[in-house]
């Protein structure tokens, strides 16, 4: 019986799920609704300062990376749930996009 590699992806999915469950609602509301409607005093200076800060960098990276790993892992499973045959290539694609997004986020944060 072949051992599955699922634990790797499941752990990332789980971490992302927990993070998005705890902070997702507040984040989506703040950046997607309150901010554009003028309720959040953000602006370039404040955002830049937050992203320069060590804690800020880690927070932004974790949110983007873990949300991606959570969402894309679940999307991969949902494709299967819709009766579409999933291949190893598709698995690589979904998780690869999450990895790429995480890498881009890391690069942007490091070079900011």
């Amino acid at each position: 019986m072949k051992r599955s590699n699922k634990p790797i992806f499941w752990s990332l999915f789980g971490a992302g799920g927990m993070l998005s469950a705890l902070i997702g609602p507040a984040l989506v509301f703040t950046t997607g609704i309150a901010l554009p409607l003028g309720g959040v005093p953000l602006g370039y200076e404040r955002a830049h300062a937050f992203a320069q800060n060590g804690f800020g960098k880690v927070a932004i990276f974790l949110v983007i990376s873990l949300f991606l790993f959570h969402g894309l892992h679940r999307m991969y499973h949902s494709v299967h749930d819709l009766g579409i045959h999933v291949t190893p290539a598709m698995k690589a694609l979904f998780h690869g996009i999450a990895a790429l997004g995480s890498a881009v986020a890391a690069y942007l944060l490091v070079t900011l």
Binding site: R3, S4, W10, D81
Partner: protein, 238 residues
């Protein structure tokens, strides 16, 4: 006396290319179960209707069927609750039909065998000793009557018949959690494979339909953590 129409899915392997529907008008009293409705049909209307049953009290696990699209036991669901009807009666989903409402359970039986559902290890000299607290750890999982309602409920099993499935994994956990057992190591390969616990996406319908409160969803998902631990820490084991 009231009556209700039972729309039954029929299939005779010797004469039918595909299943077909047949309706029966069944007079009933408020104390009649769906199983008794089927027995009325067989005794008075159509002796060819084929279905499994035995205990009439939700312990043998034989009379499972889809009642209006939901996996239920015929003996503990009542015609009065489906009135005015009609009540659609089909064989359990996700299993091949042998004849009428009887399905082929051989896939499940093979999976049950694969999880080694028995106490493994040298017995002690004298009786096994187990505290009530230790028994609580596995008791609910030991209530499984192999009725297969959970397999009919599980869409992952429907999409992929290689998935080990809820009841087999719940019974696997029942033995792993039993303090008398030492076979966890031997059962890990079944848990760890792609079609082991990793075939489950926690739809949770299995636990919803289980007539004995086994909660297979819990049994399977507790073992995801075990499988992950086994995966990551295997190089640190002596």
């Amino acid at each position: 006396m009231r009556s209700i129409v039972l729309e039954c899915l029929r299939y005779d392997p010797e004469t039918d290319a595909a299943p077909r529907w047949q309706n029966y008008d069944v007079p009933f009293t408020d104390d009649m179960s769906v199983l008794q409705g089927l027995q009325y049909i067989k005794d008075h209307l159509d002796g060819s209707l084929t279905f499994r049953w035995s205990c009439r009290m939700a312990i043998c696990g034989s009379c499972g069927a889809m009642l209006n699209g939901e996996p239920r036991l015929g003996c503990e669901n009542f015609l009065r609750d489906y009135y005015p009807g009609p009540l659609r009666v089909e064989p359990l989903n996700h299993f091949p039909i042998v004849r009428d409402l009887a399905i082929d359970q051989s896939d499940f039986l093979a999976k049950l065998e694969s999880v080694k559902p028995y106490i493994i290890g040298e017995p002690p000299k004298g009786p096994y000793r187990q505290t009530p607290r230790q028994m609580e750890e596995y008791y609910q999982y030991s209530q499984c009557i192999n009725c297969l309602l959970c397999y009919a409920a599980c869409p992952q099993y429907g999409l992929n018949e290689k998935f080990t499935g809820p009841a087999a994994l719940a019974l696997l956990h029942r033995y792993n959690a039993d303090s008398r057992d030492q076979g966890k190591r031997e059962r890990m390969p079944v848990i760890n494979q792609e079609d082991g616990v990793w075939g489950c996406t926690l739809v949770g319908y299995c636990s919803e339909v289980c007539p004995k409160g086994v909660d297979p969803a819990r049994a399977v998902n507790q073992n995801k953590i075990e499988s992950a631990k086994d995966y990551f820490f295997r190089f640190f084991r002596r």
